[in-house]
Symmetry: C2
């Protein structure tokens, strides 16, 4: 890659700004933001069987080497249809106001999303996955392997436990 990271970080009076460029795009059974919301209202919470595809742009394909051995991938993406940068959120399955950092909703200070997907199959720059809870056209910002450090067996889940 050509650019040093310094070129995409910029200090301003409001803090550090960072410039991010997508590496690919999500193809999803959910076409609109409302489709995700409806699925959640119907009680779908794990999205385990929602299949989709990550289409990685050609220039980034060499970076996919060695991912095939991992059963799960961490996808960082842009909530490109986010509407507001709320600090308080109304999760669809809850009914209460929650601090946005205790939720996974899209309307947050920085519209960054993270989902763990199961890797089903890769063909060159196209990765078939399940566990998709992003909408069609979602920009993919990064892919990381899911590692033992991400598996917290004794976790507790706050208000989500109720």
């Amino acid at each position: 890659m050509r650019t040093a990271s310094g070129e995409r970080l910029k200090s301003t009076k409001n803090g550090l700004l960072m410039y991010i460029k997508p590496i690919g795009v999500v193809h999803s059974p959910f076409k609109k933001r409302e489709d995700i919301k409806k699925a959640k209202e119907k009680g779908l919470s794990d999205f385990e069987n929602s299949e989709g595809e990550l289409e990685i742009f050609d220039e980034f394909e060499p970076g996919l080497k060695d991912i095939d051995g991992f059963s799960h991938l961490i996808i960082l993406f842009a909530f490109h249809k986010a509407r507001k940068r709320n600090l308080i959120s109304h999760p669809p399955h809850d009914g209460k106001k929650r601090g946005v950092f205790s939720t996974r909703g899209p309307d947050r200070p920085n519209p960054l999303g993270m989902t763990v997907v199961r890797l089903l199959k890769r063909e060159r720059n196209r990765i078939k996955v399940s566990g998709v809870d992003m909408i069609e056209g979602t920009p993919v910002l990064d892919i990381k392997p899911y590692t033992p450090k991400d598996l917290k067996e004794k976790a507790s889940f706050g208000w989500l436990s109720k």
Copy 2:
């Protein structure tokens, strides 16, 4: 919050650009990038006992409501000391060249990091955590709750298993 997300997304001939603003900063026992590398070379892989603090900027504190019930938090951060946007990486504990998307290293197309930490204690806008593998001064971009959907008990870990 004041800005609509559209104001920080920009289409260019090179793709979508996204502007990200930190919500806080990491205080860490690791002062430099090399400190992390050394710890890994000594065989520290889980960083489970590395304690640190997330200092969230005052304006974002209301968003922390309700996080206290969660044992673990997902931290998205900027690799602000990243040097290159490599597609091929040389993980310190491996010795082989790996596709960057099968590694967690900092020198990647978008310098975004993700770590799951254990929440130890919160006092207003300061969150004591363990599991810190970021360096001092790392910009925090987002905090998300660790949920059952992130816990993949039957995961397999590719080249990291060796």
